[in-house]
Amino acid sequence: MRARSALGLLAAGTALAGAIVFVRTKSAVEREHVDVYFADGSMVSLEPGSTDGDRLLPLARRAIAAARG
């Protein structure tokens, strides 16, 4: 009885962790962004909604579209 409830708890915990990882990965991957890298190794990530992000994202989309004809 005790072993069964422990197993159930473990299964529930694993499922929850899996769901969190899935949602986080999906949201991170599918978000549009522009990452700008500098000579010292630093990087600035610009998201839509920020001033620079809204300025650079259309240029990135235009470059992709241009390459695909």
Partner: protein, 175 residues
């Protein structure tokens, strides 16, 4: 002294297999810009197309068969790079070296050195580090080729000068 491109690729576990197959081609000193780009798309399966241009967006070489598309792509990449340069404007800030723009239908990567920029388009969710590594390798190959050409030109000019001097000396002696 720097290691060869093949040695550098060989050090990278993910690229080791590719470098083994492409080693002699990648390391060729006589490689031109077009060949460098062709190799780039060959070693990086994630790259759909690529263009090499100067900082103003004038095309040097491209994997695109359509010249107009290559021109538009190079200009858009140069514009993206130029616009990204304004992200950090504080005095003394480090210069920009590369940019990745990720959209829903793909990503664009632009890397630059002192003279050129190389831009590539990939499918969505690329391995960012590897794509940038491949772009920089392409720029290094081009730089090496230009250095080799410059060295050869200098050597030829020196030889011509020496030959001319010897001829003049011989003429003087005979006169």
């Amino acid at each position: 002294m720097r290691s060869t491109v093949c040695e550098e690729l060989g050090d990278d576990a993910v690229h080791a297999g590719a470098s083994l197959g492409l080693g002699p081609v990648v390391a060729s000193p006589a490689m031109d810009a077009g060949q460098a780009l062709a190799d780039l798309t060959e070693i990086s399966a994630q790259i759909e197309s690529a263009v090499l241009a100067d900082h103003e967006g004038s095309v040097v070489a491209s994997t695109l068969s359509d010249e107009d598309a290559a021109k538009s792509f190079a200009e858009a990449a140069a514009e993206l790079l130029s616009a990204a340069d304004d992200v950090r404007t504080e005095p003394g800030s480090e210069p920009l070296v590369q940019v990745e723009g990720a959209a829903y239908d793909g990503s664009v990567f632009v890397a630059k050195d002192d003279r050129h920029l190389v831009a590539a388009v990939t499918k969505p969710r690329p391995t960012v580090g590897l794509v940038f590594y491949d772009l920089k390798t392409c720029l290094r190959m081009l730089e090496r080729e230009e250095e080799a050409k410059a060295a050869k030109a200098t050597k030829t000019a020196t030889r011509r000068r020496t030959t001319k001097k010897k001829t003049e000396e011989a003429d003087d002696e005979s006169a």
